[in-house]
Amino acid sequence: MSKVAEEQEAAGPERGADASFDGLRMRGLTKEFASFTAVKDLDLDVPTGSFFALLGPSGCGKTTTLRMVAGLESPTAGTITLGGKDITRAKAYQRPVNTVFQSYALFPHLDIFENVAFGLRRRKTGDVDAEVKRMLDLVELESQARKKPAQLSGGQQQRVALARALINQPEVLLLDEPLGALDLKLRRSMQIELKRIQTEVGLTFIHVTHDQEEAMTMADTIAVMNAGVIEQMGAPAELYENPHTTFVANFLGQSNLIEGTIQKRDGDLVTVDMQGVGVSVPTHRTHADGDRGWVGIRPEKVLIGDEGEALDAPGNTIPGGVVTDVSFVGVSTQYLVRMPWGQELQVFEQNTGRRRIFRTGDKVELSWRPEYAFLLDHAQDAHAGAQLGDD
């Protein structure tokens, strides 16, 4: 079993470790194509009724995983169970799972009413007219019921796709990057809409996306996926503040990763010799074996000050920095600071107005509170996950 599944089971029964787990469970899920393996031995438990995000760069296997859950792709190995029943070999039309496709896939030859009614008609359940009307009201498209998809705007089409899937009250609703084709403002408002609908309807939503901001905004739980495996899974804040791998650290937001040698592991604290400066990292935030590691600190957690200025951060002070770039971004100022060992660190400072803005060439000191730092395994690539994701 993978590390992630072990962690899940260790987290206790309320995380669904026992056999009576009635959510979506994947074990050892693998998908191999002729030239490469898209998904490798995936283990995942999706809690019922949660808004779950599967986050990762293009080609990481998240869409393939989704399609396997939907039944549109058959796994090479592994099992998928839903509500205790094994659905691995079930055909797509036999599963209580519905998908909102990236391209919406609305039937062009049917009007909106018939599109939304499609699933109900196939299963011959329910009062079609009443249900469709109710669903169209939910997505605010009652007036467009008799139009064809081609006559609707992108945002409206997206809502039809959602209605068409939701109306069947599936046990799991899959969303394959549904907001990708929308412009920024519309995307933001749809993010809020989707979250609201999910809370109202109470179904399990699995949202696949490469946009880390989107995932953090909407999801209760995020699984970060890379090259066919899940790197880390948890609540957005957990993942962001305490990443376990360099990929997660770089993919979600940005991180500074600085090489260091571990000197002492002493109960609650780990001491690291970071390029000649002694820093400490809380033990529950260290994820490195061996004697070397990457000290990680988020740019917004780094405090910047004039040389010799006493900063409000006992412990980790690093002198000798020179500002090499200043970007004024309105809300904040982003600095690049070259440190004595040659690395340029990123520092984001909110423009509270209390301090002057530094200029290129200024000599500065950096510091941060130890409880914000994390320590990652040295064997990992410090650039993994960087410059991917949100573009």
Binding site: A70, A92, N98, T99, F101, R122, K147
Partner: protein, 266 residues
């Protein structure tokens, strides 16, 4: 003057278009023509009459030839459309070996001279001992053969242009493979199939060279026209020509009208 220069290309284009229509006007015009005498061989307009329209089958052999052409056209269209549609589905949706050889076999008839295709079929029939039985069925066989390629190309284009996630969406929404086909795939491909059928029919109806070589004693409409071309031409052939024009233009306009109506309902 400037106005003309800017639109020069358009004007030239319209002139060319006009050029394509001049003979059509002649056809329509001549359908109202009265031959000066029974034996006149000169192809010229002499006086106006509605006789041709009122007595289209004045020459019974013309109507019999017309009947043959319609029958062959209908049957050939039916068979070619069905077989061709099946092939198009196979080509677009399935994988198999020898694809390029297959493509070549399918597309060669479109690019071969008719005289060669007709000759080779005749050679086949003769070699097979059917020299004495050339007629309706040999013509039909030939027509199905050359219509097939056109059907395959037309339906294939339509099918390939179809978004295949639509079928996945249907399956995701509880449609079995059979339901998916009839409720989603078929309605979307149908316009292509219809277009292919129309194309097939007109190719078959209009064919002369291949038909002539393999017809034996049977006469189709084009063969009839050929036969009378050097003798007295009954003006009723222009009636048929005009009718065909009206029917086909109507069909196309109906299709266009449908499209515009759908687009306009925004």
């Amino acid at each position: 003057m400037r106005w003309i220069r800017e639109r020069m290309v358009l004007i030239l284009g319209l002139l060319v278009l006009l050029y394509t229509f001049v003979p059509i006007f002649v056809v329509v015009l001549m359908s109202f023509n009265k031959l000066p005498s029974e034996q006149s061989k000169i192809y010229k307009f002499s006086s106006f009459t509605l006789d041709n329209w009122l007595h289209p089958c004045a020459d019974p052999s013309m109507c019999s030839a017309l009947g043959k052409s319609l029958a062959i056209g209908g049957l050939a269209t039916l068979v070619a459309t069905v077989l061709g549609t099946l092939m198009a589905f196979a080509l677009v949706r399935h994988r198999f070996a020898g694809r390029s050889a297959m493509n070549l076999t399918i597309f060669m008839p479109m690019a071969s001279p008719e005289i060669v295709m007709g000759s080779s079929l005749l050679a086949l029939f003769v070699a097979g001992g059917f020299a004495g039985q050339l007629g309706f069925w040999t013509i039909l066989i030939a027509h199905i053969m050359f219509c097939l390629s056109f059907v395959v190309v037309t339906v294939r284009a339509r099918l390939a242009g179809m978004d295949d996630t639509l079928e996945q969406a249907a399956m995701d929404l509880y449609a079995t493979p059979s339901q998916t086909f009839w409720k989603v795939t078929f309605p979307l491909v149908f316009p292509g199939i219809l277009g292919a059928a129309l194309l097939s029919f007109s190719l078959s109806f209009d064919d002369f060279i291949i038909t002539n070589l393999n017809a034996g004693q049977t006469t189709t409409f084009p063969m009839y026209v050929w036969g009378v071309a050097r003798k007295t031409v009954p003006m009723q052939i222009n009636v048929i020509g005009t009718l065909m024009l009206i029917v086909s233009v109507t069909i196309v306009l109906i299709g266009e009208f449908n499209n515009r109506r759908r687009a306009a309902a925004r």
